[in-house]
Symmetry: C2
Subunit: 287 residues, 2 copies
């Protein structure tokens, strides 16, 4: 049996009671550690779960998934995933292979950034497609995200922007040399994300957003040190959001007055926020 168990967003105690009971019945426990990060160490998880845990990287799951499936034919195997287990393609692929090999599977859901983001006070119904912003290189600056944000904003919908993280990624050059060397883990900050987004605007210039566009920055959502700040992109670019993970939300202009009132509680500067909100969403303030 193969269990995919979501760990939620924070520490070792965000697992569900059901998930914990299952882990304690498993002979083999893996932790997927590349699509998100946990805020506690593997050792702390092991102590709490009473099980030893093997870290697996992207290659292990995507290429050596067979090993996991092989084990799951004979014993109870758990693959632990930060957040909800099915936000990343990799796991769907693994489940599909399990189904085809008649290996029973069970998913234990948990909180995900995609819904926890409701904590900033924006309605989940008012979000359009979620997008991911990758680290640009000198030669690679994909603009598809820009046009997806445009699609959302044209419909008046909010956009959740998830920021890139590189954990245990082999360096491209090392592939050529035939021996994989892994780069240092790195995580995109909100400040870095904003500079990339503004660069895209200057490259595509369809006036989707600018420095004065109101947004909310969030770091470590769901964890005890969670930080939420609202302001213009220019303002947020200079806020220190601390350790990863960071996310950014651009407002859609169908925003409801109750949403604005709640988000306003997180404003870096209430006066500036009010003034920008009145410019960007004048219909909310008509009397």
């Amino acid at each position: 049996m193969l269990y995919l168990i979501g760990l939620g967003l924070g520490d070792e105690k965000d697992i569900s009671v059901k998930g914990l009971e299952i882990i304690r019945q498993c002979q083999s426990v893996y932790l997927e550690a590349y699509t998100s990060i946990l805020y506690v160490s593997k050792e702390k998880l092991e102590a709490f779960y009473g099980r030893s845990i093997t870290l697996v990287n992207r290659e292990k799951v995507e290429c050596d998934g067979n090993m996991l499936l092989q084990e799951a034919r004979e014993m109870n195997v758990a693959l632990l995933v930060v957040g909800d287990p099915l936000s990343a393609t990799t796991h769907v692929d693994l489940l599909l292979r399990a189904r085809r090999e008649n290996i029973p599977t069970q998913i234990v859901h948990n909180a995900s950034i995609m819904t926890a983001i409701g904590a900033v006070g924006l309605q989940l119904y008012n979000f359009g497609q979620t997008v991911s912003l990758v680290f640009f290189t000198e030669t690679w600056k994909p603009n598809s995200i820009y046009f997806k944000i445009k699609e959302n904003r044209d419909l008046g919908l909010h956009t959740l922007i998830l920021l890139d993280l590189h954990v245990q990624e082999p360096l491209f050059e090392s592939y050529i040399k035939g021996k994989k060397i892994y780069e240092e883990p790195r995580f995109m900050s909100i400040s870095h994300a904003i500079s990339q987004l503004l660069e895209l605007e200057s490259l595509c210039h369809e006036k989707v957003y600018d420095e004065s566009t109101l947004a909310v920055g969030v770091s470590r959502m769901g964890f005890s040190t969670e930080k939420i700040v609202a302001g213009s992109l220019k303002q947020l670019a200079s806020v220190d959001f601390g350790p990863p993970l960071h996310s950014l939300i651009l407002f859609g202009n169908k925003i409801h007055i109750l949403e604005i009132e709640y988000v306003r509680e997180f404003a870096l500067d209430v006066k500036i926020f009010d003034s920008l909100a009145q410019q960007q969403f004048p219909f909310l303030y008509k009397t």
Copy 2:
């Protein structure tokens, strides 16, 4: 202190370990029972949590929220919410009032249908705005949902359609008579939803979908009796999805081949599914 604690999607054991520890430290525990439903009884929850639970309805939270806040000034109060606590506006409003009265609050996130839906094999990134379908009456058939689905489909995005539930709603006529009488709880089935959606198509006729449009029906997502079936709207209308809650997903045409392959595993009739998928997403099958 006011805690908003998500219970997740299934039974008493879907709460997080953190959430459970908090409940056991609370002097007063409420269960919000109108934006979703649990698959276990209040008594079972009480036995597992070791706390007596007071059911609250919409009026209680929206109108009498003051009572909850009054208590939260002096003791630890938990409001339990099925799914993630912040999917419904009501709770944002309550949190906002708490903030303004300087009552500390904490949110304990959990799984929500909005992300658990990834279990059907569709990528969360490929979903547009989530929509809700309400029970039509003779004189009230709001078509805004139709145009939101159109917006998603025009962008090639999937649409998650949440179906109405009425729990402890006072009857409209009873307001007039001055004494509130509550209607029987009722839940929209997938079959009922499809008939309403097709009615909207015949009223608005913008060719957003028709009987042959491929979709996935899901009931009791995240619970042990979860049921997932893929097929045309016409096919799904005659499937018995059993007890509530039901949800429906329409595919966007940006669907990826891996998504189709996974969803196909749930097809009511694989031959019909393949034939419709080849008509509706021909680009996936080009060689």
